[in-house]
Symmetry: C2
Subunit: 310 residues, 2 copies
């Protein structure tokens, strides 16, 4: 498959697949969520299970154009709605979980519940986002802008695994993964830089399959060849990064917020780790970002389905 | 004075002042440094003391257009050149120190020397940068992208002081200073957010003069009013930040590298703390960035001179 290089191509790809993923949506009480799920329905790659109060269920019950693709579950209390949505996923009734107007912590509480939750034992929960930046020539994935404050070595390795798998679903044969730091120097003062040495060794030993992993590198050297040339840095990333792994949540979040604002980037993001992709966009994200996130989750869910069938 | 809103206005402002600041430049062995100092000379707000090997001193000695404004000091060894430049500053022979093609650590070594250096006892060394971002309506200052990895409360307060003083030199009467975090929540898990509570209290008590300081805020809420509105955050910054204070060096550096690359921002930066501004742009910065940094340092040096005279 040709690599998907922007969000328009992602929608095209999903439409061609001609398959609908089942999305259970908790408390779709805001206009951005309504726009996003309605568009995914119209584009033909989603069906909906709307869990929420009567304002939600009434509104979506009247979406008569596609009655066969919209179910509603009427529950007034948001926390109870979250638990019900998680139950539906756990019992195989949905492929994707999506947050509407409910506090993220409350939904996470239901997801992480040891008995009734959907995070398999030993799995970590992490956020993976992707941006379409007008001044970059392809999609740029990055992690973690939202969940893990100070990743351990093991968590960094898991984050990389998730990112690589997602790149493959986007048709990127040999993803280039850059391990971000503020300098190219390795130093015991910055334990993440020591982790990076370990990870690069694992990658060179073939642990991650057909990928290029390098670091520590800064954002500029990762994404612009001229920077590396001037500094005399010969990295196999060569200014062509597909994935940026950030050292901590502050730097990941700064990247997400500043590039989306100042470089007019469009974005999508999902939580990885649970049995299905989870869409937890933030309140300030646009309807389009929420729609892109659903599309990313649908690609992920469809691909995992194929992998399971193999 | 009207606020300076972009780098072109900064040059105009300096030309109108009709005063030259004395810049001592260590090892101007690269074309970007040569462009930057030559332009500052031509624009009429700098005179030069070039310290370096014969390739530097010969080249600049032939700058015959302004012989009265160019001195050369021939020293072959870069470390010795750094020490000589620092000595010239310490003895009052220059207003600004600038790094050419010499390792930053080696220059810092000379600056920080306890007996022969130029950092007064009790002062901290920190980096302050400023960007002209095409998609933002004014200059945006930020600290620290390059020097202090994990600022203490006292260091954060000093960083804010430096930024406020610089804003005043740029004609900003009431600077808006945003204390950056990945969320608006204060939590003991993130000591920087507790520091921020302290700093906001100090600001409200009038400690920093006529400023607006708020945080924790993320980059987007700091610089875009709509983000705060959607999230229901009523901050006095109101999406109009002049200054971003980053929690750690990774986030500051990510901001610097990603906004300069993806949002095509122009930038300038200086080291604060020593007896005079120090220009230490990085190898991958453009000639224009180095020139802007000189201009920023000249504004700073001229303003400090006025303050001393009062």
């Amino acid at each position: 498959m040709e690599p998907i290089r922007n969000f328009a191509q992602l929608t095209e790809h999903l439409k061609k697949q001609n398959r609908r993923q089942r999305i259970v949506v908790v408390c779709a009480n805001d206009s951005h969520t309504e726009y996003a799920v309605s568009r995914a329905l119209e584009e033909g790659f989603a069906e909906l299970i709307m869990v929420g109060d009567s304002s939600v269920t009434d509104r979506f019950a009247t979406l008569k154009k596609y009655p066969q693709y919209v179910k509603t579950v009427h529950i007034e209390d948001p926390d109870e709605a979250a638990r019900e949505a998680v139950r539906i996923v756990r019992e195989g009734g949905a492929d994707i979980l999506m947050k509407g107007l409910i506090n993220t912590d409350n939904l996470l509480h239901a997801i992480l519940d040891k008995e009734k939750g959907i995070l398999p034992k030993g799995k970590i929960l992490t956020h993976l986002a992707v941006m379409e930046i007008p001044s970059y020539h392809k999609l740029l994935f990055f992690s973690d802008a939202a969940v893990i404050p100070r990743p351990t070595l093991q968590q960094r390795i898991e984050m990389i695994w998730y990112a690589i798998c997602t790149c493959r679903h986007f048709g990127i044969e040999q993803p280039r993964v850059s391990l971000i730091h503020f300098t190219e120097k390795v130093s015991a003062k910055f334990p993440n830089s020591l982790d990076y040495v370990n990870i690069v060794e694992l990658a060179e030993a073939g642990e991650f399959g057909n990928v290029i992993i390098d670091g520590p590198l800064d954002v500029r050297t990762s994404c612009e060849q001229a920077s590396g040339d001037i500094k005399g840095i010969a990295s196999p990333i060569n200014g062509q990064a597909d994935v940026l792994i950030f050292p901590n949540i502050e730097s990941g979040n700064t990247f997400y917020k500043s590039v989306s604002l100042f470089a007019k980037a469009e974005m999508a993001g999902i939580l990885q780790g649970p049995v299905c992709p989870v869409v937890v966009t933030s309140r300030s994200d646009s309807g389009l970002s929420k729609y892109n996130s659903i599309a990313m989750a649908c690609l992920q869910a469809a691909s995992c389905e194929c992998e399971k069938k193999k």
